[in-house]
Symmetry: C2
Subunit: 397 residues, 2 copies
């Protein structure tokens, strides 16, 4: 008598989790420092000291009933105001607190954004390669997920396929730039073209098409890369943000949804989020973490290690003959495997204690992902293993 | 093009919130210390110092990447183990970590418990008087909410009505003891009878009927009151717990779902919760708060003030001629209004700066709720206002 749809989901094992379990087991055998684990996107640099200081100050100085009391369901007002002001200053979009809804990280933000605009029967488009959790996020709202195939030359948007799939049934598009797993950042040209198409199709179909922009990697953009703010290009944009990667605190689960003020009914939408929360058991993030994050809104952890790591890995991959688009941000790189079956490729890599993730579940079979959020010293040691793996297994590449 | 069901919910104004806003506005006029605000269930005593100390210790001593890193989606293993052990010691039920799922307080626990066992078209029964949020919690799963009318003599269960309503369509019962708003604790006799009926009807209908037991007030039980552990009486029980009231940290949003180990498929159910989370954007509670709460699992804030306040108010109400069942726990009391229309009654009370909540939205019109989680000194001062209100407005009661 248990609900079958959730029971059925148990049989689908996550490849990433299986690989991560392998890495842990192997680490117990040979020492974890000798396992080159590129499977998980867990930040590898410390939270800024200012966050820790803010937490301790709140605990020591603030009246505990006030500090730990219920916060309003949309988030603490002063925190929403500070986020709106920070976004306005940074992007020139006139956000006010009425456009900001505090969430349990990006997953919470996306759950609300989807429920604002899609219902059973509607379609939501995403672009391959994509973060695999988008599938349950979308399908469990009752909406239908459709996947636009990738442009594997650039990992920008495959507009030919997109325009064919953008039917009247599509109510929302979910994008992720900088992108997990490709590491690519959508260019100004890409975002402008996307916005133009959405605007034209909205007019043609006589209904809004909402753009849900998942931006947890916004702060991890490499030198010289064109990284436009999506919300500046398209009115009906909902920005989903998480502090997980920028502040290195993924376990503390804090983020927000920012509705573009130019969106029709923007303020109503934020109020509706409070109603959606009542149905899904969401609660705005813990009070103390809202307040502490608010103290470090314009700070980040020292994210420079990711660019250092990327450059080392990219250079080695190219020198080994891999086809690979150079990442513009994130802590992922997404090369083409050296044989058609990237699962077989990644399995062979395990023999060299290299944990690589095949990209089938990301919607780009034949590719693999490396999450290089590990110490640079370890990246350096891994390159010899990578070279040995490739030269031994693919001598005639 | 916004989803209508959530938009429609915006028009329903919460009576409690309106009263609370009135109290704030009035407080600005005459000083908040002179407003006798019995509207909100926000704990009025401080979190135990041990919790604050544990938080500071974690921040100062633990590796920040480990402290703030992703935790497993079911909760931190050591925390789940500690909760299982604490529950086993306390209630003699052999909980293991496999039966514990960490949640964003009781709302998160109930959202998962419901989705485990009910789908669109199923019925869920609740007993009046009830916490008004149960309505969106249940209705937004797609299930049908049915309300068993109250036994206004005792506020135990109205079994005659219950047995009539317990049809084959009912898949789950949601109860709340100690109860918000009545303050009543279900007796051993009540819980035993409820379990017997559920067991008999499950057998008759050939399917499980699950008991979802919402227990945020478990630690606030007054001297000499019979307060049985519901899970000990019925196998198919899911206990929904929150630390909000016991530790006075409602804003930090932490609780758990404990599936009775005797429940068919108990361990599968906890794993299914991880899948449900993916759909509703739930994330297990913040790592640091899981770890800090784990340090004070068997502690509570100093909850004795609530019993002190209850005794003062109950005595005064009785002396003024109110009909009122004496609360066995919580920080609520639930007297009968002195006229049939409790909204009119509570509106008259506002003239005396007494903020009382009419019980229409709790499913018991004619009654009103007082949340006496305020300082005893203020309770004492409020009694003169209460007496003046009653003697002036209802001289012939």
């Amino acid at each position: 008598m248990l609900v079958q749809k959730y029971k059925n989901m148990l049989s689908g094992k996550s490849v990433i989790r299986q690989l991560s379990e392998f890495a842990t087991a192997r680490g117990q055998e040979i020492g974890y420092e000798n396992v080159f684990d590129y499977s998980l996107g867990n930040p590898s640099v410390a939270v800024p000291q200012e966050f820790t200081d803010a937490m301790i100050r709140l605990l020591q100085e603030k009246n505990p009933m006030e500090l730990h009391g219920y916060s309003p369901s949309l988030g603490i007002t002063s925190v929403r105001e500070a986020i709106a002001a920070s976004l306005e200053k940074r992007f020139g979009i006139p956000y006010r607190k009425e456009h900001i809804f505090m969430t349990s990280a990006a997953a919470g933000a996306i759950a609300h954004a989807l429920r604002l605009v899609v219902e059973e029967g509607d379609e939501v488009l995403i672009f391959a390669p994509f973060f695999p959790e988008y599938r349950p996020y979308i399908e469990l709202t009752g909406a239908k997920l459709k996947i636009v195939p990738p442009d594997t030359e650039t990992f920008q948007i495959n507009f030919t396929a997109f325009e064919e799939m953008l039917t009247d049934k599509v109510k929302a598009i979910l994008i992720n730039t900088p992108n997990n797993p490709s590491g690519i950042v959508y260019s100004t040209e890409t975002v402008q073209k996307l916005a133009d198409i959405l605007r034209a199709k909205s007019a043609q179909y006589g209904h809004e098409i909402y753009l849900i922009s998942d931006e947890p990697y916004r702060e991890i953009v490499f030198a010289g890369v064109d990284a436009p703010c999506v919300s500046k290009f398209y009115e009906n944009t909902m920005m989903c943000y998480s502090f997980s990667k920028s502040l290195s605190l993924p376990g503390e689960r804090i983020g927000y949804l920012a509705i573009n003020p130019a969106c029709a009914d923007a303020e109503t939408m934020v109020n509706m989020c409070g109603q959606i929360s009542r149905g899904i058991g969401h609660n705005c993030p813990p009070s103390i973490i809202q307040l502490a994050v608010c103290d470090v809104l314009d700070k980040t952890a020292d994210l420079s290690v990711y660019e250092t790591n990327m450059n080392l890995i990219y250079k080695e991959l190219k020198s080994l003959g891999f086809t690979c688009v150079k990442p513009g941000g994130t802590f992922y790189i997404f090369p083409k495997a050296l044989e058609e079956d990237s699962i077989a490729f990644c399995n062979k890599a395990l023999k060299y204690d290299l944990i690589l993730v095949p990209a089938d579940s990301f919607g780009a079979p034949g590719f693999f992902r490396m999450a290089y959020c590990i110490a640079t010293e370890k990246v350096e040691r891994s390159l010899a293993a990578l070279r040995k793996f490739v030269e031994t297994e693919y001598p005639n590449r």
